[in-house]
Symmetry: C2
């Protein structure tokens, strides 16, 4: 008998070689699978994530599922058991027993990524693993206006790292919000979309920073999207500022559907 668990987790990515299992590397998937193997006394339980995150990338709302063999454990006991076996850079924040139709990856209706950029003159020692760094002039209003050009359904070939293997590069961006956190001296980028290509958020952030720094025209992203050419944006913002913030398994709420007004 198998019981399917859906679990939500946060992790500090800076000491992991990414989410996906790799032999002889410390990964999030590997860490969770090792704990489950102890619980099952040696049986491998495959952990399926909503998607991979790269080395140094963080999660505040990664979602996984797995099928636990043998006697079902109540969800509130499963979360305590797994948290007690996790290292301090992983924490499970929610656990539910779900039916077999739920799939952490294929049931997704949308994903929310956040990117934090520190504007401090020097790299702040307390933020070196948790933000990107851009110590130059930045016009947040211009970036916010430029961000609207990303909304809607587009072929995002220009924003996909060349290493990606997915052929269909069409995605829908529902929500783009760029704000200044004055207290922290940071700019926060939020993106919600149907899905994101490999490195897509980091490439969008890099392009928006160029616009905010007036090294790229205000509405250049329209041209970049139309060009379908990765060479149009050569930069990729550093992994350390990126957070998988939330995964939607129901329709993305209307309040986050800025694309409705296009």
């Amino acid at each position: 008998m198998l019981t399917r668990y859906k679990m939500t987790m946060s992790y500090d990515g800076h000491l992991f070689h990414g989410f996906q299992l790799q032999p002889d590397q410390r990964t999030v998937q590997g860490t969770v699978e090792d704990a489950l193997k102890k619980m099952t006394k040696g049986q491998r339980v495959i952990v399926q994530g909503s998607g991979r995150t790269d080395a140094s990338v963080h999660a505040l709302g990664q979602v996984i599922h797995f099928d636990y063999p043998g006697k079902a454990i109540p969800a509130n006991k499963m979360i305590l058991a797994l948290n007690s076996m996790m290292p301090t850079d992983i924490i499970f924040t929610d656990c539910q027993i779900v039916d077999e139709n739920f799939h952490a990856r294929y049931s997704i209706k949308g994903k929310w990524y956040r990117y934090r950029v520190s504007l401090d003159h020097f790299v702040n020692p307390f933020k070196r693993f948790y933000t990107g760094h851009f110590p130059y002039a930045l016009d947040v209003k211009k970036m916010q206006e430029a961000g609207r050009d990303l909304l809607g359904k587009h072929d995002f070939t220009s924003f996909a790292a060349s290493g990606g293997q997915i052929e269909d590069k069409v995605r829908t961006i529902y929500y783009v919000n760029i704000t200044k956190d004055e207290k922290e001296n940071e700019v926060i980028f939020d993106f919600i979309g149907s899905g994101f290509l490999y490195n897509m958020v980091r490439i969008m952030v890099a392009a928006l920073l160029e616009i905010g720094n007036e090294r790229r025209p205000l509405h250049d992203l329209k041209r970049v999207i139309a060009a379908k050419d990765r060479q149009e944006v050569r930069q990729t913002a550093h992994a350390s500022g990126l957070y998988l913030y939330h995964v939607f398994y129901d329709d993305v709420p209307q309040k986050y559907r800025q694309d409705r007004y296009l």
Copy 2:
């Protein structure tokens, strides 16, 4: 010819074995002295801090001085040179050339320590190196009221770790402020005093948390101070929440002299 430099620095303490130089250990003092040795082509320059910080303890305003031999380097060049040689967990934020009467330790008029306590149910992966952790009921108003009992000139023997070698345990506490950061779900403790004994801030925080959790009477600190016995407070809050926030070399400003109203 020697030129004395006063420099202010921040560091993330979690990967250091404390401030003070120790053979074969990564320390803040050792890291700065190694950089200065490169600048002088092999001559040792002794770095004097305002005081030590323990392993895992952070600084947002540690102050050091050193006497640089040879040709004087302008302060704005010295800070750039040293920052370029620092690892990413140390950053210098200010540099001044001072006269030989200035001493990072003996010229001190006051010190400001901050302590951050996370109230999250589980240890937050992003705060594990940067806060203490207290996932229990806590009455911040009671702690604030109890904190006033620490103000003024007292023999703080009850709040000094037994390892300390300083005989005179009399210190003056000028300012105690305890606030809740709702957004971060943290309690922030601020203490300004003439000086602090070994582990004194961490022991005061532990005692205040017991009061806030109603495991100790509201005005018990008066009795604890009078007892002059370390056994009166058995707990010490974890090093990871402690920050050396500021060092005063001028009189502590009147707005921080709560002890005036006693």
